[in-house]
Each structure stands twice: as structure tokens, then as C-alpha cells.
Amino acid sequence: MIKFVVKRLLSMVVILLMLTAIVFLLQKLSHINPAHAYLGANASQAAVNRETHILGYDRPFIAQYFHYVSGLLRGNLEVSLRTRHPVSTDIVAFLPATVELAVSGLFLAMVLGAVFGLISAARFRGAGAFRMLLMSFASAPVFLLSLLGILVLSGNLHWLPGTGDTSYTNAPTGPTGIIVIDGLVHGQFAVAWDGVWHLILPALVVALGPAVSIGRVLRGSLEASMLSDFARTARAKGLKERTVVLHHALRNSVSAALSMTGLQVGLMFAGVVVVETIFAWPGIGLYVDQSIPQADFPAIAGVTLVLGVGYVIINAIVDILQAVVDPRVALV
């Protein structure tokens, strides 16, 4: 277990170094001078040159990179050129909403995927219709689904809110930054419930694509498990088909679905940026979306790092879950 944690931490360091290197390379290739963006379009050339020197953008590329990495080790993500706050402060402010959306999206994707996989493998009634519905929604791009949801469910039917994560302007802001939890912590159940209500539509949009992928993998391995020798043994004992599926086949089938979940997390992060922008969800997706046009490279790099850390953590959790599910799997 210790070896597993150490290995994962090392791989996280490597991934983060590579991610920052890529962000720096992009900055180099873009030929945008962040100092120019920082000072505004009307700044004089002299002022830009001075600011470029102060910010260190005139130093060699490698030197900039090492300066950034050494700052990183001290927890310094530099200052956002747009908000003029330290990037770390910005991320602390924006991350909770993203965690809220991503975690509930992932949870929803797993639930929908499990239902989809189970009912189509076990050929329950209505499986075909459910599958059709899920597949047709999942085949649409995220932005189209978002627009559809906002226009129909929010605009026309007024069932669900379409923007932001709360309707309260005086919602509590601590301690987690996640509206639903903070509402509960402060005993303001109306706020928490309103938060859940706001969450449904964006989380659903984020979850649909991964849900279909997870469900298809689950269905495939469930079908194989149900034809397996141990399922035949279970049937020979005279167990009910429902028991065979839920007690024997399912646990032997979730391993592949868990792997797929890990893979989908990366795609989901990309989806979160788009969805947050469309739903005006106050997370790091919205933050980075506003930073990109301003060439706010410190902010972009910071968000990239956070997503990288999230990816590694979630995949480590997937590996642990796989070992929990299958006693033959050892953590390495």
C-alpha cells in the first residue's frame, strides 16, 4: 500500500512537470506577450518592455520554466495577470464549485452507467427504450445538450434553473465553498435544496457521455460474466436469475467499468470547462475560460495543474476500488 501511494505520488510529479512544460511551450508558440495583455491595449511600448522585464518574460524560456517550477515547490502559482490576485487564491475561490459539479457529474455517470449496463445485459423490460434515450442524448455534443437543457427545461418549462449555482445572493460562503454543503452546515436547508436544484442540469449534461461509455463496458463484461462457468455453477445451485446477476456476475464485471470511469474523468474535465461557461457556473472552468482570451498564462497553468492532480487522484481511487472489488488484484 505504501509502495502504491509512493508510486502514484511520483507519477503525479512527473505528470505535473510535463503539464507545466506544455503550458510554457504553448505560451512560447503563441507569440503573445502576457505583459502587453497585462497592461492593456493602449500601453506604451516602453511600459510594456519595463513590465516584461519585471514579470521576467524576457528571460530565456528554460529559465522561466525553472523559475515557475521552483515557485511551485513553495506553493507559489504566481499572480494572475487578469484578476491581479495570486492564482492560488483564485483557485481556492473557484475550485469548490468545480469539485461539486465534477463529483456529482461523475457520480451520476456511474449510476446511469450501472443502470444502463445492468438492464441491457440482463434484458430487463424497457432496457431498449432506456438505451435509445441515453444513446441519442449522449451522441449530441456537450454544448448542444447544454443549450437544449437551458432552452427547454429552464426557459420554456421552468423546471430547472439554468444559470449559476444558487439563486441566493446572501448564500453562506464557508467553510467548503460548496453551496449545498455550506447550506447544510449553516442550517439553511432552503439554500442547500436550491443548490441541488441548480446542480441537476449541468451535472446531467456532464454525465451523459461518460455514462454511456461506462454502461457499454459494463454491459459487455456483464454479458461475459453471465456466460461464465461460475454463473453456470450459481444457476446449477438453483439460484434465481436476479441473484446470479447481482451477487455473482456484477462484482466480477465492474473492474472493466471502473477502468473506463478513470479514463472518462479526463474527458469530463474538458466537458466541465464548456459546461461551466454555458451555465455561468462559478468554477475554475469559467475562470480559465475568461483567462484564455487575456493570455493569462499563470492562471491557465494553475488550472491545468489542478486538473492534472485531480486526474491522478481519481485514477488512484479507481485502482484501489478495483483491488477492493477483486481479491486477486494486488495494488502495485
Binding site: 509502495k3 456466460l227 461464465s228 462457468d229 461460475f230 453456470r232 455453477t233 450459481a234 444457476r235 446449477a236 445451485k237 438453483g238 439460484l239 434465481k240 436469475e241 441473484t243 451477487h247 455473482h248 462484482r251 466480477n252 472489488v325 477483486d326 481479491p327 486477486r328 494486488a330 502495485v332
Partner: protein, 707 residues
């Protein structure tokens, strides 16, 4: 248990836990039969073609009876077993006619729920592969409790099937148990709730020979104690004969012969049963000539002949065989067809020409086969082709604190001479395949040396011929690949490929086929053709016949014998079957836990074994109505081999010193080339007298007279 009907069912039939003794002497004298199968037909569509798996099978089974259901692949034996269990796969959808009554319920017409209740209350099942038949992610205890109902009952059952320390084993996962113990767990689940019938589909095929005997003995004991009937499905007539009261031989979806085990194993009447028994190797089989085999291939269930399904392979075949399906008729003790059917204990045969050919004693040595010629390279002197010296090989398992070393080879010396054949015999984990792979150069050894004579790299033939051929290349391309280095043009290369195919007895068309289009026996021939198209100095064979049907295995052994003599290649043949080893090898080396424990001339070793382990292996050769269990337990774990002689924990004649003092492979006085790693056996050994070479090939007629 959350199954609601469980409470109602538990009070149902069986006097659970009571060990009522059953009068096995007169099975079902006054009772109605437990199973009545009448004119059962099963067919389904696969790949657009109609597969006729069962074509009119009828038989009865009495309470407390053990029926051995014997057949090769394509005979329909597994389909019959699954039909009785109501567990035929739903896709492709089977078409079933006739009836199969189990405890009064017709499993053909029963709906899902009815069939499930029959399985729950009256049936148990044991399947072939205990590695895959238990749920890998569920603890043993929970799996047994599902069938047994309570923890207490689960412990009692596991104890009854001989699982050591059952209470603490409940928390084990299947992968933590050995194959034999897993099969015991399967049997515990099968006999839970005292079913009337247990269907065991090849329950011992995946197990080591010494463990196989233990499992067969257990089945017999359970029948005696619980009165449970068994249907023992197997490809091996010998396995069935050891415990079954009656044997039914299936061929091409029909019963060819049904009768008491002693009759069928001793003097079968149907030409197929006779042939099956004849290609079954025993330690008395004549080694000086090829094994008498059944010609042709097992039947293709997509394309049965109109008449007797065996007629295309039958030596007594005539025109009348192909007119209609031969009915199963009762025969008298003298081998004549009886006028009226009389009870289930009768001997029944489906052959219209019965009585018009001599059936003779099946085990008789068939004099028609020409004796083997001399080995081509015998005149080339006795230079070693392979010299193995002090070879050690270990594998690392696990990581960190749980890191362990599996000691696969612990100091092996072996010298294979030019043109010689040595058979390596041993159970799983003994290192025989590791030794072969090391010689083939497929892995490096940790210690010791492997030297070759003047020849080049050895060639290897594997157990699973299907998996060892590339699926998308034609047979011709795969054989021709080995000729690429010779820089031949297309035409001479094709000619060489054709020559190689002819040598292994395959038609020229096979060159254009892909492996999937061939049968198992044909694929193994292709593998041999690929290995010998450029004749190697040494041919390494890793259990090449163990995945094949009995009749095909014999033909492949004959083929290896012929290739050896015609091409003069030296052969190292790995097998778990001493009888096959004796047919192939000039010498036999018996391995146990990474070491050779006995080596010597094949006939000498089989007729006068010295090492207790060799004796135990020889004892696994089947006899009617008796199971020898000479060895308790299973081969020890190569991860932590016992000190001293590794065999001592299982050895019936072990002494205290065996656990401490190391043993070496010492020469045997008065027997040249014989070496044994057991000082006690060597000390107690009575001096060998008489001609050993003839002792092993005693005429079977003399032998059978004594039976």
C-alpha cells in the same frame, strides 16, 4: 440467504445430514427410476448451420446408481448433461424434442422457474474446471452457504468432502486454494441439501493424476453414504470404469453401447467402444509397434451420415450400416441379440452388424500394425544432442514484503542423446514445462548450463495447437516461414511445405486453410509439420496430446514416433501420463518439485519402479470398480518446497531422516543408466532378477487371464 422460498424448500424432501446407507448391491430393485430420458433430440443453429447435438437418446438411471457417460468431443455428452440440468445456453436457441424426466419433472418442457426448483431441490452439478467454476470474488464460505443454507451446514459439508480445517477455510477466496481443494468445494456445493442426482461433467480432467484418484474415490464414498446418484461425464473410459456401475458410450449424438462397467471396460461390443479402449494407453501396450488407432476424426455434428454415425471410421462397416440409424438392442452374455429388452442392467449395443465380426478382447495386442523400424540416427553414435547441467530456475512472485520465489527447477541434470527420446513425467508444478522452455531458449536459466550438440536450435510443439498457430496466416505461410532463411523461390518452397504436410499425414489443400478451419488433431499435425519442415536436431513436445480426444491423441503419438524414426530427431516429450511417456520415450525421467527423482529405461521404470513417487504415479492407472489412492494431499507448493526430500510429506514410506537430509540422484546397482533419488528405496530394494525388458510388455492376454 435472502431467497424467500428457501424456508419452504428446506423442509421439503431430504433427511438432511443423516447418513443413510444405501444398498448399492441392488440399485433400484423396487424403486422407480430417478431419471428417464426418452428419445431426446437437441439441435441448434450455429454460424448458419444446423448442429444436431443429440439424436434420439434414451436411458434410465436408478436411485443411488453411478452412470458413466463416455464420449469424445462432438458426441453430445455435455449437451446431455446441460439438458438434464435445464442449463442449455439460450443463445443459440436449442430445439429440444423428446423428454428428460428428473425426479418426475420433464426438464424439456419445464419453464425456467420449474427447472430452477428442480435444480435447487433435486440436482447438484460439478463442472470440469474448478479454476473458473467458482466465483473468484466471493469467499468460499458464502458460495457454499448459498447452496447449504447455513454456516454450520457449510462447515459440515466441507468437512465431509475432505477440506482440511473447513471452518477457517470459509473466509478463503477460490484463488487461495489448490485445484483439488477447489473441486472438493464444488462437490460440497453439489451435494448440499442431499440432492437425488449429481451431474459431474469431467470433474477430474483438469486435475493432477494423483488428485484425480482422490476425487473419484470421494464420489464413490458420497454415493455409498448419501445414496446420491451420479452421472459422471468423461472422455476417458478408464475414469468411468473406476467408479461407475454402468457406462453409456455416446457417439455422434447417439448411444453406441450401454452396459455394466466391467462388461464395457473388459469386453466392449460396439466397434467404437472397442477402438476407444484400444487407443487408450495402458502400461501393457506394446511399444514396439504403433498404437492401433481409430481412423478419421470425431464426428461433425453439423453433418452426420444417414446411418450409423460411426460407419465412416468403422473397420467392420458395410452397406447396411448406412441405410438407417442402428437401434440400441439388448444383447445376452454370449454376445447375441436378445429377443426382448430386459431391464436397465442389461448390456445394449447399437450395431446392425453385431455378431458378424469377432469382437475379441479389446486389450489384446493388435498384431496387424507393422512394428516400428529402427531409429534413423541410431547408427550415428551416442553423442549428446542436449546436455543439461545443474540447471536452476526461479520465478519471482509478488512485490515488496510479499515477494516470494517460486523454485521451478532446483538442480536438473539431463543428457539427451542424438536420436533418443526421453519423456519427462510429473504433476503440475514439477518444473517439466519450465525445463522444456529453458532448453528451447524461451527463457534464461539462473544457474547451470544447457549445451547443444552440433545441431541448431530445437523446435517446439505446444499443448494448445490452436493457440500456437497464428490465426490470420494460412497453414502454408506458417510452415513456409521457416524456409525463408534458405532463400528458396516460391515453387521449391511450396514443394517443401507440401512434403512436410504429407509427412504428417495432411492433404495438400490444408496449406491454403487457416487454423480456425481445422480440427484440433489437424492443428497439432500442422504444428508438427512446422517444427519438422527443416528437420531439427531436437524436437521438444509440451503435452501435445493432452488437449486432444483419446482417439486423436493416439494418432499424434504415432506420428511423433514416425517422425522420430524417419527424420532421426531427438525428442524430449513432456507429459503427466506415464502410459503415454512409456510409448514415446526410450527413457523416462520422473520429476517432482523441480528435480528428477527417478530416471531410467522406459520399460524398466514402469515395470519395476523404485522411487515411491514413481510407484504412486503408476498406481493411478485405472481398474474397474476400484480407485487406488496411494497418495494423500497434492503436490507441494514450489514456492516453499519441503526440506530434505521434497516428496517426504506425501511419501507412504518416509522416515524421519527424509525431512532433514538432502537426497541426490544416485545410480542403481545392477541397472545401467538407472538413477533414483531415494536412499531408503535403494536400501530396501530387492535385487532385480530376470529380463526386465519383457516384464513390461507382457502379453495382454496372459495379463487379462489373471484379471
Amino acid at each position: 440467504m435472502d431467497d424467500a422460498p428457501r424456508a419452504a424448500e428446506a423442509s421439503a424432501p431430504a433427511a438432511r445430514g443423516t447418513e443413510r446407507l444405501f444398498d448399492a448391491a441392488s440399485p433400484g430393485a423396487s424403486k422407480s427410476p430417478l431419471v428417464v430420458v426418452d428419445d431426446l433430440h437437441v439441435s441448434f443453429e450455429r454460424g448458419g448451420q444446423q448442429v444436431n447435438a443429440l439424436r434420439g437418446v434414451s436411458f434410465e438411471l436408478q436411485p443411488g446408481e453411478i452412470l458413466g457417460l463416455v464420449g469424445e468431443s462432438g458426441s453430445g455428452k455435455s449437451v446431455l448433461a446441460l439438458t438434464l440440468l435445464g442449463l442449455l445456453p439460450e443463445r443459440p436457441r436449442p430445439v429440444i424434442t423428446g423428454s428428460a424426466l428428473v425426479s418426475g419433472t420433464d426438464m424439456v418442457t419445464a419453464n425456467r422457474e420449474q427447472a430452477r426448483l428442480v435444480r435447487k431441490q433435486h440436482l447438484g452439478a460439478v463442472f470440469q474446471d474448478p479454476m473458473t467454476s467458482l466465483n473468484p470474488t466471493m469467499r468460499i464460505g458464502k458460495q457454499v452457504i448459498e447452496a447449504a443454507g447455513s454456516t454450520q451446514e457449510a462447515v459440515r459439508l466441507l468437512d465431509a468432502v475432505g477440506l482440511p480445517d473447513p471452518a477457517s477455510r470459509l473466509r478463503s477466496y477460490p484463488h487461495e486454494l489448490s485445484g483439488g481443494l477447489r473441486q472438493r468445494v464444488m462437490i460440497a456445493m453439489a451435494v448440499a441439501d442431499s440432492p437425488a442426482l449429481v451431474i459431474a461433467d469431467e470433474p477430474t480432467t483438469a486435475l493432477d493424476v494423483t488428485v484425480q484418484a482422490q476425487i473419484l474415490e470421494l464420489l464413490g464414498t458420497l454415493r455409498d453414504e448419501l445414496g446420491t446418484s451420479f452421472i459422471l461425464v468423461t472422455h476417458d473410459l478408464g475414469v468411468a470404469a473406476q467408479v461407475a456401475d454402468r457406462i453409456a458410450v455416446l457417439y455422434g449424438g447417439r448411444l453406441a453401447e450401454v452396459g455394466p462397467s466391467a462388461d464395457l471396460f473388459g469386453a466392449p461390443l460396439h466397434p467404437y467402444a472397442t477402438g476407444l479402449l484400444r487407443s487408450r494407453l495402458v502400461l501393457r501396450t506394446d511399444r514396439s509397434r504403433p498404437i492401433v488407432t481409430l481412423p478419421g476424426e470425431p464426428p461433425d455434428p453439423r453433418n452426420h451420415p444417414p446411418g450409423c454415425p460411426f460407419s465412416p471410421r468403422c473397420e467392420h462397416h458395410s452397406g447396411e450400416c448406412d441405410v438407417a440409424l442402428p437401434p440400441l438392442e439388448t444383447v445376452t452374455a454370449t454376445g447375441e441379440i436378445a429377443p426382448s429388452p430386459a431391464g436397465s442392467a442389461m448390456h445394449q449395443v447399437a450395431c446392425v452388424r453385431l455378431g458378424r465380426f469377432s469382437t475379441g478382447h479389446a486389450a489384446a495386442i493388435d498384431e496387424r500394425a507393422e512394428p516400428w523400424g529402427p531409429v534413423a540416427s541410431a547408427s550415428r553414435g551416442r553423442n549428446p544432442a542436449v546436455l543439461v547441467h545443474g540447471v536452476h530456475k526461479r520465478f519471482t512472485i509478488g512485490t515488496g514484503l510479499r515477494k516470494k520465489h517460486l523454485l521451478a527447477l532446483r538442480g536438473v541434470d539431463l543428457s539427451l542423446n542424438e536420436g533418443e527420446a526421453i519423456a519427462l513425467v510429473g504433476e503440475s508444478g514439477c518444473g517439466k514445462s519450465t525445463l522444456l522452455r529453458s532448453i528451447a531458449g524461451l527463457q534464461m536459466v539462473d544457474e547451470g548450463e544447457i549445451e547443444f550438440g552440433k545441431g541448431g536450435r530445437p523446435q517446439m510443439v505446444f499443448q494448445d495447437a490452436g493457440a500456437s498457430l497464428t490465426p490470420w496466416l494460412t497453414v502454408g505461410e506458417q510452415i513456409g516461414e521457416r524456409l525463408r532463411s534458405e532463400g528458396l523461390r516460391r515453387q521449391p518452397r511450396d514443394a517443401r511445405v507440401l512434403e512436410a504436410l504429407t509427412l504428417v499425414g495432411l492433404p495438400a489443400e490444408v496449406a491454403k486453410a487457416r487454423p480456425a478451419q481445422l480440427s484440433g488433431g489437424q492443428r497439432q499435425r500442422v504444428a508438427l509439420a512446422r517444427a519438422t519442415v527443416v528437420p531439427p536436431e531436437v524436437l521438444l513436445c509440451d503435452e501435445p496430446t493432452s488437449a486432444l480426444d483419446v482417439s486423436l491423441a493416439a494418432t499424434v503419438l504415432n506420428l511423433i514416433g514416425r517422425l522420430r524414426r524417419e527424420l532421426g530427431v531427438a525428442i524430449l516429450f513432456v507429459t503427466h501420463d506415464l502410459a503415454a511417456a512409456r510409448m514415446v520415450g526410450d527413457r523416462i525421467a520422473v520429476m517432482y518439485l523441480g528435480r528428477i527423482v527417478e530416471i531410467g529405461d522406459a520399460d524398466e521404470l514402469c515395470s519395476a519402479p523404485i522411487h515411491p513417487y514413481t510407484k504412486a504415479l503408476l498406481d493411478t492407472v485405472p481398474e474397474v470398480g476400484r480407485v487406488h489412492v496411494r497418495l494423500k494431499g497434492e503436490p507441494a507448493n514450489p514456492i516453499d518446497p519441503p526440506n530434505g526430500c521434497a516428496f517426504h510429506p506425501r511419501c507412504p514410506s518416509a522416515e524421519p531422516t527424509c525431512a532433514t537430509s538432502p537426497v541426490s540422484l544416485d545410480p542403481v546397482e545392477g541397472a545401467s543408466g538407472r538413477r533414483v533419488a531415494c536412499p531408503i528405496a535403494l536400501r530396501l530394494r530387492t535385487p532385480i532378477t530376470g529380463d526386465l525388458n519383457t516384464a513390461g510388455v507382457m502379453s495382454a492376454r496372459d495379463d487379462s487371464g489373471r484379471r
